[in-house]
Symmetry: C2
Subunit: 401 residues, 2 copies
């Protein structure tokens, strides 16, 4: 199950950034499961990684390498997360960097490794290493669509976003992502790779990444489970000849946010078992933290999510979630709740104008907005989530068997 | 679905505490849905109530009345929670107290009202009020079993616990509870009523209630959703002639805890869709808060809970949950995880001695203990939870329809 359109948009190539995909047979023979991305010399590359204490071996290695030098290659395998694999996991991640570096006359520190898939199984190194030459051979700036396929796990569809902006001298931003379950990114999501041909220095690019990430991957939850392997990488190749400075920074971030939000929403649309795409908007909060606490309490409530799965306008469960979100001295009489355009609750109870028939109609669409006004301040936040369906339970009860 | 035995234990009567049950047809004709409990004069009564900001009208009224005088009557209806009902809800709760008070020559402040069931529908007052005479007529110290039935909603079975202790002068403690979904009590659970024939002054009884509640109803979660109607009431009638003082207090609390933990575990055994009864034990934590953070992160992880539903020893999901629990500077190499007696993970990865066959065997029983050693301090905590099954989704997608 998934919501919205399954098609990738037009993926504009980014000069200076090439992608090659191969089938290494890591978990399933014949499946695209190995992706190499090559970043031209002179590019800037920044990243954000999971805050999970049990971070995976490739995350540890990628962070170390990124701190040492500018990467020339990103190496991604699916089918195996190389997480919970201890010392051997670190050795395997380093070895995969060495083999790719040797094949490209680079140093291993110029390679960032990424893995996604089952936790706790050793990486099948022979197969992974044998796939590297094929992936290198396939490197092309038009490789985005194939790479979007090559990084998937339980995802049912490839996810990408791409845009160009600017009048005379155009800037391109293109990215891909994967993720469907174990989704509550904390600083980053499962895996995302975004490239631009703008020239951006490292400090500005890092600031742009944090700003875009905060309002996109840090605003989604499928099941409240933060992954061990989350990573988002942003590369700026400079090939457009346009340099981003303080004067053009805000516009660049706005465009970057569009791509990031597209990618983050694509993960929610393909969330495990998803039958609904749900935006939870909380406004009138004292501050952003308060708005987020209310939004996430609603978005992660199993009772709200099962009601959404049934298209049941069960506003009592939404009020109950707001009530336990830890808001200090909440005036329940001031709270108003809409589903899409329909006012469903105010003054601590069901709206006088509400009736069940209108409620059923409001809940029928695939895309639902739960809009909460706390009426106590100026802050607002939006998070995106899915419903909780039989299908979610089936996928996660059967994932390893 | 439910786990363990469905039978109530022997319910010892408590002199000075009587219960009467009636069928008022509040939601389903013919079903026992109205319970009156009468507490003899000279008793001590204390209570704890939900921390949900959207607390139900009867909770508001019960707290006010309890602050004013010692209650003589508890009035409980099922089928309708009188929550999210605004001003009318308060009026209805007060009116039900008035009618019961008039029938028993008491004041309305001597009546505590409790409601459980659907949120957001007005109380059907005519039916409720008409049921009160029948319930009063049925009052008996042997009314525990019927009352345990009369307070249920989506529960599939009645829940009670009862014990007697002491050599020459015996003390009896007997209690009933209800709850199956929207279960993460915060200070108290959905509804629980416990009586003892010990004589205990209000200050000591309140202290005993807090101590017993903290390790029982405050240690369970079905779905992380704190209810709007949680309440636990403890009455001490003094009819045994034994007075609890500082010297006998610890023993009294120990016995009270046994009853409270029995009741809290009964809620988990009857948790919505429950196929497993899961104890999450975290030891070696720096303090109790840290142990609880880890225990609840595991107990509320949808991915851990769906793996439990499939009897899948998916230790990677348990490590991932520990890793996102917010423990400062967690040394992942020091963490050890057992399922029942089987060591499954240590040094940040799968235990060398582990194999899948042994893992499958360990996960097969209905009762599962997930035991986490953090090895960084002396604090330990236990919480109880269920798995997440198709049945949970079905119940909560269909509850109102």
């Amino acid at each position: 199950m998934a919501t919205g359109s399954a098609a990738l948009p037009t993926m504009y190539p980014v000069d200076g950034f090439r992608l090659g995909t191969a089938s290494a047979g890591i978990k399933t023979p014949g499946r695209k499961d190995l992706v190499v991305m090559a970043v031209d010399a002179g590019s800037t590359v920044v990243g954000l990684f999971t805050q999970n204490a049990f971070c995976a071996a490739p995350v540890t290695v990628a962070k170390q390498h990124l701190a040492q030098t500018t990467p020339s290659y990103l190496l991604v395998n699916t089918g195996n997360a190389n997480a919970g694999t201890g010392e051997q996991g670190i050795k395997d991640a380093l070895r995969s960097c060495e083999v790719l570096a040797a094949a490209t006359s680079s140093r291993k520190e110029q390679v960032l490794p990424f893995s996604t898939g089952v936790i706790g199984e050793p990486l099948p190194m022979d197969r992974l290493l044998c796939g590297i030459p094929d992936a290198l051979h396939a490197l092309s700036k038009n490789g985005w669509n194939e790479a979007a396929e090559g990084i998937l796990t339980t995802d049912t569809r490839a996810k990408g976003a791409s845009l160009q902006y600017g009048e005379d001298s155009k800037i391109t931003i293109t990215g891909i992502t994967k993720g469907s379950g174990m989704i509550k990114p904390n600083m980053a999501t499962m895996l995302a790779y975004v490239a631009t041909d703008a020239a951006v220095d490292a400090e500005l690019l890092h600031r742009a990444l944090r700003l875009a990430n905060e309002k996109s991957f840090n605003r989604i939850t499928v099941d409240s489970d933060t992954s061990t392997n989350d990573a988002v990488i942003l590369a700026a190749t400079g090939s457009s000849g346009v340099t981003i400075d303080e004067s053009s920074f805000d516009q660049f971030v706005e465009q970057l946010k569009i791509v990031f939000i597209d990618l983050a929403q694509a993960i929610i649309r393909d969330g495990e078992g998803a039958g609904k795409f749900v935006s939870v908007v909380v406004e009138g909060a004292v501050d952003s933290d308060e708005a987020l606490a209310v939004a996430y309490t609603i978005a992660e409530s199993p009772l709200v999510k099962t009601a959404l799965a049934a298209s049941d306008p069960n506003w009592g469960r939404i009020l109950a979630a707001i009530g336990r979100a830890g808001v200090n001295n909440l005036d329940v009489d001031a709270v108003r709740v809409h589903i899409n355009a329909l006012l469903i609750a105010e003054y601590g109870c069901r709206a006088a104008s509400y009736n069940e028939e209108a409620g059923q109609l409001a809940m029928a669409p695939e895309d639902i907005e739960i809009h909460v006004s706390l009426n106590r301040g100026q802050a607002s936040e939006t998070v995106w989530t899915t419903d909780l369906t039989y299908e979610y339970v089936r996928i996660n009860a059967e994932y390893r068997t």
